[in-house]
Symmetry: D2
Subunit: 337 residues, 4 copies
Amino acid sequence: MIRIGIIGATGYTGFELLRIFSRHQQADVKFVTSEQNAGQRYSQVFPCPYDAELIHAEEAPIKQADVVFLCLPHGVSMEMVRKVWDAGVRAIDLSADFRLRDPAAYKRWYGRDHRETELLKEAVFGMPEIYREQIAGARLVANPGCYPQTAILGLLPLARAGALAEPRIIVDSYSSVSGAGRGLTLTSHFVEANENLSPYNIGYRHRHISEMEQELNAAGSGPYEITFSPHLAPINRGILSTIYVWTKPEWSLERLQAHYEQSYAGEPFVQVLPQGQLATIAHVANSNRCVISLTQVRQGQIIVCCALDNLIKGASGVAVQNMNIMFGLDERMGLIG
Amino acid sequence: MIRIGIIGATGYTGFELLRIFSRHQQADVKFVTSEQNAGQRYSQVFPCPYDAELIHAEEAPIKQADVVFLCLPHGVSMEMVRKVWDAGVRAIDLSADFRLRDPAAYKRWYGRDHRETELLKEAVFGMPEIYREQIAGARLVANPGCYPQTAILGLLPLARAGALAEPRIIVDSYSSVSGAGRGLTLTSHFVEANENLSPYNIGYRHRHISEMEQELNAAGSGPYEITFSPHLAPINRGILSTIYVWTKPEWSLERLQAHYEQSYAGEPFVQVLPQGQLATIAHVANSNRCVISLTQVRQGQIIVCCALDNLIKGASGVAVQNMNIMFGLDERMGLIG
Amino acid sequence: MIRIGIIGATGYTGFELLRIFSRHQQADVKFVTSEQNAGQRYSQVFPCPYDAELIHAEEAPIKQADVVFLCLPHGVSMEMVRKVWDAGVRAIDLSADFRLRDPAAYKRWYGRDHRETELLKEAVFGMPEIYREQIAGARLVANPGCYPQTAILGLLPLARAGALAEPRIIVDSYSSVSGAGRGLTLTSHFVEANENLSPYNIGYRHRHISEMEQELNAAGSGPYEITFSPHLAPINRGILSTIYVWTKPEWSLERLQAHYEQSYAGEPFVQVLPQGQLATIAHVANSNRCVISLTQVRQGQIIVCCALDNLIKGASGVAVQNMNIMFGLDERMGLIG
Amino acid sequence: MIRIGIIGATGYTGFELLRIFSRHQQADVKFVTSEQNAGQRYSQVFPCPYDAELIHAEEAPIKQADVVFLCLPHGVSMEMVRKVWDAGVRAIDLSADFRLRDPAAYKRWYGRDHRETELLKEAVFGMPEIYREQIAGARLVANPGCYPQTAILGLLPLARAGALAEPRIIVDSYSSVSGAGRGLTLTSHFVEANENLSPYNIGYRHRHISEMEQELNAAGSGPYEITFSPHLAPINRGILSTIYVWTKPEWSLERLQAHYEQSYAGEPFVQVLPQGQLATIAHVANSNRCVISLTQVRQGQIIVCCALDNLIKGASGVAVQNMNIMFGLDERMGLIG
């Protein structure tokens, strides 16, 4: 059994981790922390059957765990990661703190200095489809953002093949409200979000662009010029990204389709839909799946649709997938494909 | 033109008043106040075309208005109502402060002393279907609660006729989330309310029982023994109450149906559905209508279903209906039937 | 591995069975049938990864299965159950055809003669909380209805204890739209159901009353006089029943709470919430849980709230629970508690 | 009073017309037709207070009307329009049959010959923002499509000014489910559409592209190369289009913003939001408003967001706006701005 700690367990990603672990044969959750709800039972915070007592992070018996999941805000997370690291315990950080390999990029997008640049060098970006081997040996995994994964998984085969005719990439995304967290904001008020669709931080402003740039440029044939338009949609789970790219003449739709299918052939959680089907949230909600579809607009112009559940494949599911890899388990354990 | 002031204009009922006044031929909104948003334009607070500047309530030029609508929390409202009264301006109070004629009942249900018991004597309970004449001459109208109206309109013909065989009344209600206001609570968080149904304050605990008791007992053949179960449903507008009563043997379904139709025959905003149709939210959303249906369970047992839009007929719409009556206008002006 | 067949696999309950079996360690789905979609792959009918080919029921290799699940309309199902029975294969019937032990009740509520009255004698009503032992030895399980389970689980401890002071029981229920099936009706049209709440077949008309009467009367101290008001709510999953009963003076709330907790102490999927918490859909969606809460209205009057996921504990989940019992497996296998 | 007939009145656009006419001071609805529901009262078809009897289209007393609204499928509509025309009565056609001035384009996109090419020459494309004068004198108005209006209103000032640096235009749109009509399809089933987002006919396949091309090319500086991606979102009303264009260097964001504001300064129903606000469905639902926002991505790249209520400004509202213009009424009569 893998002994697990969850720090910051009372947000949606923490709750989702508990849901996954409840059906994971090798998971033994040792502690769950919450600064706001310490002293309460978990079932008082969420309508659920998990009955563990919530403790303060500083009281967490870190050394009793084999791995600690951190579901904290960026900026706050890096300090806790340092503590876990110093305790010799492996960490999977769901914040953005260790996702950007370049501290200057962190400063540019997050508006603050990175205070753990040494640790940053140890972090592996937690996308198994790119870094499976490194994850296996990692002591610190930086779990990727939800939006970035749709863009990266949606474009990786194109980027690796150098198939884009121009650097222009447009990522138009709609996310569920859970992506904004359980904190109270007018934007997340039911009456404001329901029966509504709303863009926010569109253009070149949202921090998740930094992850897309890092990983797509690393995949080759960049640098790319990314436009990213996130929107809020009245659903509980899921992100759908509709991505516009322009491809080189030698990449026919058939060749692209075959290339995508081959690229993801061995991936347990990425599925390229056959021509004629388009990716939707219904394909992925409540699962660790990511589905991708390719549509030709006209010769040399392609639309990639990519969908995943932002709380699972976009966060807690891929975190467990990473844990499974780190501990040599079946990568699919506890996860719904 | 009737000169209008709205105090506490940035909640859902204030917004709804502005929406109604935008299509009311005799309304001239002179001022809108908000303690939280004073200094901003209204269109910065709601995504809407109303562009008035929000001011503090204490700066409100009350005397420039012919009538002031108060959309404030109970307890706070009574002081403002006193100011409006002292300025010689008519008031329509959407809070609960002047709904209960008995100060002792106010204390029992709202947990505080009523500090304006003299004014309380002047207040008219703002249900046109009961008090149309008194409203016409009123200087202070206590606008009724949303839940109570469903129970009162749903049962008034029964109570007046003395048709109930026993005092037992069960009111099972589902309300939209807007009924909980625009304030930020976990209950109103999109992800918590969406895909959920949840009872709250069920049994004999919700304050709105006091209005039901007051008006139904006053209508005759009481006192009644009310059980009231409010629930939250994932919709933006509307209340549906399913009401269980037991009737005297001489009241056949046909007689009841005819009695209800006759009782509301002259009412512009209450419709008794024909046998075979049941009241739903779709009948009433975005209108000032209240629809009622009668269903016989078995001899001597009736289910009354009653639906209205909690923000319109349940609050701002009936408030404007009251204003129209107070100022001798067509009662339907600005309102959708 | 248990070899499984699903007849009528392209409705919501069939889909849910496949979802559950995808994480069930002992399930080997041998065939899935659909009259409408025979010849297609399952993933063409639902946006999902299940890729089995759909065949006609008459081509189903029934004898290759250890158990067959039937997700067919009532009336149609009994013939197929006969075929499965004659093939010597165990059957779990999700239709209503074998739920009522009395053929006269079937005729009264379903408007047709029961044509398999001999088989009817073999059927066990599939609620493990009542018939666990009989299910273990059954060759034919009649899987219970979704609404009835909320009423039966919600009232069983009361009925067994003879705690009701009068026969009156009022069951006010709101169900998700999936309860109406995947067939196309105006009622299930998104625009009609969304932002709406609507009663239907209220009073003493809905067929599910027959199951409530059968099981509650069998539990003792009846007969009861049930009023049942189903409503449609704009959610994908779940039923919430708010149940009104009147209890004998000796049954204090504390005694009742203790009695309920004791009654369900050993049940893996029924949870009695502590005082202060009320049952909601959020407690149970996407799980095989049923949660129950007790609220005292006044001395001698109790509200029982009972929630479950209509597609899981209300249908396919309890069907798998029954299968697990029939085959001597851990009752919880594949199910989320 | 303007005497009005509605042919095909039992879809969502017909219902919306009746809602608008119920608060229009000069509207006198003379007849409503429905092939499917002829003989029924309107209130039996929709949960509403309109009580007119539905008749067959062929029984419609066309000559008793001053104007007839046709809410029929394309292909079917042109024959009825011919009848209305021959009766000497003005027609507002909500189908696509008279929107495309070029019969060859009609054939290409709708897959059939246009059978009323003479009448086609008489039709005026019903966007007041472009053709107000012609509408005033028109006997046949071709009411525009919902999606096209978002693209055309969103890009018209750019096209007229010749501000685009390249022909590339990407229109990414999300529509409410009511846009698909009241007919029964699996796509519109509540459980399928709810909690889902789904692309359909993306790229260069949706018929509405033809209207965008016609009007934007006519506005100047084309031809444009349009990519259009419609998606379905789980809401009852509204379309949000996020539109990507590339502009000439001399068009700074400030200049563009000023140009848009000036372009729509006199328009009663088009509002350009100030910088810092983005267009959302909440701005426009249940109104005849269209809101537009401009966002600069980087030098030379702009995102235009455009929102409207697909049933009102996108269909029945603009139809009434057109009627008001045709009959010399205040253009805003009956409409909510």
